[in-house]
C-alpha cells in the first residue's frame, strides 16, 4: 500500500524546476532599468566593434578646412580643434573605455578573488596579512593611488588599466573574504570537509560558486567605476595617448575651446555618462535580482 501523503508534491512542481540562476534571470528581465542598461551596453559594444564599418571618417585624420565646425548634417556631433569628426572619435573612444573597464576589473578579479578566498578560508596569519595589506590599499584614495601608479608606470592605456586594476583589487579581496567567512560555516561545506575533500577543492568547488552572485554584482558596478577612472586618467594625460581617441582626452582638449566649440565637451561626456549609467543600472538590477529576500 502506498501512502498518498508521501507521494504528493509538497511544493508546486514549477518551483522545484527553477534553479537560482533561472530565478535571478527571471527577476532581472522584469527590471526595466536593468534591461535598458543591458540594451545600452549592447549598443556601445556593437558601436565599438563595428566602428570602422559604420563611418566613412578616420578618427585620427586631421582636416584644417573643418576645424571646430558646429554639428551639421555632414558632421552630426561637429568637429574638434583639429578638424576631426567628433561622432567618429566618440565611437572609436568606446573601445578604449569598454576595454579599460572590462580588463581592469578582470585584473582585479584575477588577483583579488584568490587572495580573498585564501584570507577567508585559511584564516589566521594569512588572513591577518592579506587583510592588513587590503586595509592599507583601501586607505589610499582610489583615484590618487591610480594616478600615482599610472604616473610611476608611465602614461599609456595599458598602464592605466593595470593601475586601475590594482587599485580596484582590495575591494574584491574584502568582498570575497567576507563572503567566504559566511559560506564556510554552512552545513554543506562542513559535509564536504567531513568526507575528506582537500582544502583547495572545498574552496574552489564548494565555496566559490556560492559567492559568485555577490562578485558578479560588484564586478558590474566596478566596471562603471573603472570606466570613469580611465576617462579621468586619460583626461589628465595618463591614459590613452593622443592622437588615439578616448573620451577622457577628448574632454581635456574640449576644455580649452568651451567658449567657441562647446559641442566638443558635450558628446564625450554624455558617452561616459551613458556607459557608466548602463553598468550601474545593470549592477543595481543584478543586486536586486540575486537578493534572496526580494520577491
Amino acid at each position: 500500500m502506498v501512502d498518498t501523503a508521501l507521494t504528493a508534491p509538497l511544493v508546486d512542481s514549477d518551483e522545484i524546476v527553477e534553479t537560482p540562476a533561472r530565478r535571478a534571470l527571471r527577476r532581472l528581465i522584469r527590471r526595466k532599468g536593468a534591461m535598458l542598461g543591458l540594451a545600452l551596453i549592447a549598443l556601445f559594444v556593437a558601436v565599438a566593434i563595428f566602428a570602422p564599418l559604420l563611418t566613412p571618417y578616420d578618427p585620427v585624420a586631421q582636416s584644417w578646412t573643418s576645424v571646430r565646425k558646429a554639428p551639421s548634417m555632414l558632421h552630426w556631433f561637429g568637429t574638434d580643434d583639429l578638424g576631426r569628426d567628433i561622432l567618429v572619435r566618440v565611437m572609436f573612444g568606446a573601445r578604449a573605455s569598454l576595454m579599460a573597464g572590462v580588463i581592469s576589473v578582470g585584473i582585479a578579479l584575477t588577483i583579488g578573488v584568490p587572495l580573498g578566498l585564501a584570507a577567508g578560508y585559511l584564516g589566521g596569519f594569512t588572513d591577518a596579512l592579506i587583510s592588513r595589506i587590503t586595509d592599507a590599499m583601501l586607505a589610499c584614495p582610489f583615484l590618487i593611488l591610480a594616478i600615482a601608479l599610472a604616473a610611476f608606470l608611465g602614461p599609456s592605456l595599458g598602464n592605466a588599466m593595470i593601475a586601475i586594476g590594482i587599485t580596484t583589487t582590495p575591494i574584491f579581496v574584502r568582498l570575497t573574504r567576507g563572503q567566504v567567512m559566511t559560506v564556510k560555516v554552512e552545513e554543506y561545506v562542513e559535509a564536504a570537509r567531513a568526507v575528506g575533500n582537500p582544502r583547495w577543492r572545498i574552496a574552489l568547488v564548494h565555496i566559490l560558486p556560492n559567492i559568485l552572485p555577490a562578485l558578479l554584482v560588484q564586478a558590474t558596478l566596478s566596471v562603471a567605476a573603472a570606466i570613469i577612472a580611465e576617462a579621468a586618467l586619460s583626461f589628465l594625460g595618463l591614459g590613452q595617448q593622443p592622437p588615439a581617441p578616448s573620451w577622457g582626452s577628448m574632454l581635456n582638449s574640449a576644455q580649452r575651446f568651451l567658449v567657441n566649440a562647446p559641442w566638443m565637451a558635450v558628446w564625450p561626456g554624455l558617452a561616459i555618462f551613458l556607459t557608466v549609467l548602463s553598468f550601474n543600472l545593470v549592477g543595481d538590477g543584478l543586486r536586486d535580482a540575486l537578493d534572496p529576500r526580494e520577491n
Binding site: 586607505a139 589610499c140 582610489f142 590618487i144 610611476f152 562603471a224 589628465l236 561626456g269 555618462f273 549609467l277
Partner: protein, 313 residues
C-alpha cells in the same frame, strides 16, 4: 569602549606600516635608475654617484626604506626635486584650500543627499521617490570632471554669474572666495549626495517600519513630528558616519576638480607633481591622504559607538 579603542589603534599600526610600504614601493616602479633621471640630460657619472650617495640609492632597498620611514616619522616627507621646497611645507600650504572645498562639498552633499533620501523614503513608490532615485543614479554615473566643465560653460561662459577658474582665500575676501569655490564644491558634493541619498533612504525605510515609530504614530503625533523627531534622529546616525568615510571620494574628486577649476589645492599639487616627475611630492601627498583617511575612519567608528549606546560595552 576602551577595549575597542585599544584594538582599533593596534590594528592601525600594521595598516599604517603597509601604507608606508606601498608608498615607498611606488618609487621602485620607476623605470630606469632614479639617480640617472635626476642627473639631467648630461648624465655626468660623478653627479650620478653624488645623487646616489645623497639619497642613499646605493644602499639596499630595506635600508633605503628604513631611512625614508625614519624621516617620515619625524615629519620629514622629503624635498620637492623640482622647486627644492620641503614636501611638508607644500602640503601644509595646499591642504587648507582643499579642506575648504571638501567642507563646502560635505555641507552641500548632506543638504541634498539627506533631504532627497528622507523625501524618497517617506514618499516611497511615488513620483518623488522615483525622482530621488533618478537623481542618485545621475550623481553616481556623472563623471565630475564633465559636470565641472558643463557648469563652467553654463554659469561662467553663458550666464557670467561665477568665475570660470581661480581661487580667492577665505581670509582675503569671503564673498569672492565663496564665488570661486561654489561650483567646484557642488561638483565634489554631487556624487557624495547621491551615495548619502541611497543610505538615508534605506536607513529611513528601516526606521519607519520599527515599533517605536509605529507607537509614536499610534499616540497620535503629527506625521511631521514622527519623521523629524523620531525617525530621522535614529536614521541619520549611520548616514553621517558613512558620510565621513566619503573623504576618500572627496580627495579623489578634488584631484580632477581642482585641475578643471585651477584651484591651487592638494589635488592640483599631486597632478603637477606627477607631470613634473616630482616623486617625493607624489609620495608625500599619497601618505598624507592615506593617514587622513585612516584617522577619519577611526573617528567615524568612535562617533558611531558614542552615539549608539547599544554598542558601548
Amino acid at each position: 569602549m576602551l577595549t575597542f579603542l585599544g584594538k582599533r589603534l593596534l590594528q592601525l599600526i600594521p595598516t599604517l606600516f603597509f601604507v608606508s610600504v606601498i608608498i615607498f614601493s611606488l618609487q621602485q616602479l620607476l623605470p630606469g635608475d632614479p639617480a640617472t633621471i635626476m642627473a639631467g640630460e648630461e648624465r655626468d657619472p660623478e653627479v650620478i654617484a653624488q645623487i646616489r650617495a645623497q639619497y642613499r640609492l646605493d644602499q639596499p632597498i630595506p635600508v633605503q626604506y628604513a631611512y625614508w620611514l625614519k624621516g617620515v616619522l619625524s615629519g620629514d616627507l622629503g624635498e620637492s626635486m623640482r622647486i627644492h621646497v620641503p614636501v611638508r611645507d607644500l602640503v601644509l600650504e595646499k591642504l587648507p584650500v582643499t579642506m575648504q572645498l571638501a567642507g563646502m562639498a560635505i555641507v552641500i552633499a548632506l543638504l541634498i543627499g539627506v533631504t532627497a533620501g528622507v523625501i524618497s523614503a517617506v514618499t516611497k513608490n511615488t513620483v518623488w521617490d522615483y525622482a530621488a532615485n533618478v537623481f542618485a543614479l545621475w550623481g553616481i554615473s556623472t563623471p565630475n570632471f564633465w559636470l565641472g566643465i558643463m557648469l563652467i560653460f553654463l554659469f561662467a561662459v553663458k550666464l557670467g554669474w561665477l568665475p570660470a577658474s581661480g581661487y580667492v582665500p577665505l581670509t582675503e575676501d569671503w564673498r569672492a572666495s565663496l564665488a570661486s569655490t561654489i561650483m567646484p564644491a557642488f561638483v565634489l558634493g554631487n556624487s557624495i549626495a547621491a551615495v548619502l541619498m541611497r543610505h538615508t533612504r534605506s536607513a529611513m525605510l528601516n526606521v519607519l517600519e520599527s515599533d517605536y515609530v509605529r507607537t509614536a504614530r499610534a499616540k497620535g503625533l503629527l506625521e511631521r513630528t514622527v519623521i523629524l523627531k523620531h525617525a530621522m534622529r535614529n536614521a541619520l546616525t549611520p548616514v553621517i558616519t558613512l558620510g565621513a568615510l566619503e573623504l576618500g571620494t572627496l580627495l579623489s574628486g578634488a584631484v580632477l576638480t581642482e585641475q578643471i577649476f585651477t584651484i591651487p589645492g592638494f589635488g592640483k599639487l599631486i597632478v603637477d607633481a606627477v607631470f613634473n616627475r616630482d616623486y617625493a611630492v607624489v609620495q608625500g601627498v599619497v601618505l598624507v591622504t592615506a593617514t587622513l583617511y585612516i584617522t577619519l575612519n577611526l573617528l567615524a567608528d568612535i562617533a558611531y559607538i558614542l552615539v549608539n549606546p547599544r554598542l558601548r560595552g
